[in-house]
Amino acid sequence: MLAYVIRRLAYGALVVLGVLLFLFVLFFTVATPDDIARRALGDKATPEMIDTWKANHGYDRPLWPWQDPSDNLLVSHYTSLLGFDFGRSDVDDAPIGQRIREGMGPSLALTVPMFVIGLGLGLLLSLFVAFFRETYIDRAGVFLCVLGMSVSILLYIIGAQVLIAQLLRWYPISGFDPDPDVVARFLILPIVVGVVSSVGSDVRFYRTVFVEESSRDYVRTARAKGAGELRVMAQHVLRNGMIPILTRVVLAIPFLFTGSLLLESFFGIPGLGSITVDAIRGNDFATLRVMVYIGALLFVLGQVLTDVSYSLADPRVRLE
């Protein structure tokens, strides 16, 4: 298995190198450093100021190694990102690494409960509707799931803010407080929105898996041997349905670190999603490059983890 993991990691490294090249082309040739400088300095910036800004930020160097092999942007782009030296923001010169470390906590405070509750609720509801398959509960459940999947998350966000925070006034519309005693008040609403907006597609997927499993021979055998329906669902169907479910779940775990763009932005949570939104709006290309790079790394990691988790969940799967 180790050899397999190493091979997958090596493939992943190639993907990351490719992503870095793509990022470079996108951020340095499609959008030029002039663009970044103008955004950072504002409309009243003179051409002189723009030149000084580019020189101060090292953007006045040649792009490609063949223009200057010893000092060019492409090589420094690769060496800095691969060495996890994230540098400073284009907009305010703040160290990006530090900002990411600060943002990870609030992001995890939002995404981990969202993930755990979402997974638990998804599994529970899908077992529930699979348990009552072919009854009106199952049909109503599937209908609600499809309905829930079809609605944009923006509508959930604004709907929840209007309904729960404005009309019923249970929780603040948005905001945050790092104080652990009160932070939950600010997280409940975004967690509910995050869970509700994703539970539909999860339940529908898990339900399909469980219904398919529960029509297998071993389930019939278990029933014939007199096992109760609850025991069949919880012990046999749930366990055997884990493989397709794992694919979906494990792949999502690394992305818990990157937070959620829309939820953090609308609920004012100072996490990594929020930092990314700021970077997009402010043309902070240095931060964006780092965020995309981290996203690529996490994606590769997620894929390897998924593969490994297969073999743990199902002894028949051998990674060669």
């Binding site: 003179t46 000084t52 305010d92 019923l168 006034r169 603040p172 519309i173 948005s174 932005s265 930092i275």
Partner: protein
Amino acid sequence: MSGGSQSSLREGREAAAVARPLRWAGLSVAGLLLGGLLACSNDPYPQADADRKVYYTALREAPRTLDPAEAYNVTAHAITGNVYDTLLEYHYLKRPYTLIPGLAEAVPEAEPQPDGGVIYRFRLREGLLFAPDPAFALGGEGRTTREVVAADVAFQLMRLADPEENSPVVDPFSNIAGFREFQQALVAAREADPELASLPPHEQYARVGGIEGVRVLGSHDLEIALSGPYPQILYWFALEFSTPVPWEAVAWYDGVTRDRFDDHPVGTGPYRLTEYDKQFRVILEANPNWYGVQNPEWKAPGAVYPSEGEPGDAEAGLLPPDVVGQPLPFIERIEFRREKESIPTFNKFLQGYYDASGIVKESFDKIVQNDRLSPEMAERGIELSKSIKPTIFYLGVNMNDELLGHPAGERGRLLRQAISHAVDEEQWIELFVNGRGIPAQSPVPPGLFGYEPEYENPARVYDPDRARKLLAEAGYPEGIDPETGKPLRINFDSYATSSAQLLQEQFIADALRAVGLDVRIDATTYNQFQGKVQDGRYQMFFWGWSADYPDPENFYFLLTCDMRRAESGGPNYTNFCDPEFDELFARMRVRDNDEERLAVMREMRELLERERPWIEIHHPETYGLTHAWLKHRKSFGISFPMTKYQDLDVAKRAELRRAWNEPITWPAWALAGVAIAVVVPGIRTFFRERQ
């Protein structure tokens, strides 16, 4: 303790005797849930702050920098304006805008010199202190502050000249004698001695020798020598760019061993920064070292509430007798909360959690009806204030263009005049800014000297017939270019990327098409547009300008030869250049606000009526909303926070917030009931069928 537990045990036994335990369990869970819901509230702030005078406001974007040498946008000024006091300030209520002494004892008079230069002498108040900060330990162990001296202002002026600061205001300060020379000497010295650059800035400046025209005469006297007349320099001493900055703070917050000075302002203002988290919140607390607090007996103009304003202020409740002459500031803390989205921010204002707000586009019709506050809002005690911003939006013509500009001579002039008559700015204002603006007649916006409300620009009258006639005179009858036999093609160079902006440009294109011209909208990114400007490949464009200071010079300079984009990289994007205009500008620039200055401005206006490098569109109007508990707030127009003059009635705020935000819990129970009513019969049916 033990008695209590015994009694509860007894009660428990008695309870068990009268009811089934299951019911109790169910009831206690329900009680917990109910308790949980009853305890919930939508108040985003700590309860402990409810009775404090904390002004809450939203921060839409994080400031790029708080360094007073660089900060140049509204967001940053909302913070730096409270933290850094300046030598001069603006009167809170008077209009036209009037300068008053701030850290300086008086507004200096210009002293013309035989060599053509002008000198201004500032005298700093004695005993001014910087806000407490650990940086002052550099001046002596255990020190947390020190007195403000004239050298601190000189130090900041040298920072403005330092190319490493990349200050946006080098141009206006270059009027100080020796400013550019100091800049060049600094660059040369750094090149000659690379070790110099590793020294703290104040040591580097000292080695280079300072700016010739900035003379520190003792600890409190400062002489600013200009190389020629530039009366507007005084306005620059009312902006944070020229605030005294302690060398200790710049050396201490070096960005290497400690945080950066950009994030650690150390000033002399009524507030000081105590928390700076760009993603979460920014907190300013009243500065205990502020001169208004330390020396209330001075009754300095910038440290007490003013006793006079413009006509109408008293009626508007801006001069309450119990407040006039009272020491500032009234508000003890300013809390900026980071809000990225406008809708949640506005809804929090409606709940009472922000004290003031603008109006989001999406809710405009709900809030403002027939140009007045809707009855629903008025009932809540919300007040609507309107003010015209000292800003102008205009259509510009590239005067270097062969077809439309100077090279086309009289034909080009007639063509520009025709375009000027073809665009209906009133319809524009109605369509695109919800009617929030007034048609611009000349470059000078209201509130500035030389703005004449009764003046109507004859060249800006919307008259398509006149436009067609002018086109015919220019040799393009019905807009047809005789050379091609087709409608004359004009390029509209747009940097709009949003659909809303494109609609605006479509409106202008349609207006010109209506008189027979063929308009092609050439939309690019902002950066590509700048590239076209640099290469001179543009014809018409939409642009705007906001005043840095309230003087008409700050608008007319945009049309001078010296400021041409093509020649000097200046902000004259039209490249308009007319010796007569420049000569008039030179005269108006140096005159005080008197009849002669007005006469010169009228002549300039007339020249522009004829030449039409700008086709003025509108001066935007801002609509602000405030809650009834925010007291004596007057919209200022230019970006100065002026928070020190405002006050809060916290008791009223707490009462209204409570009334508006009482949680409604019954729907939770109704929902739980419905869920049980749906699921329980299903389960029962299932088991019955299985049996």
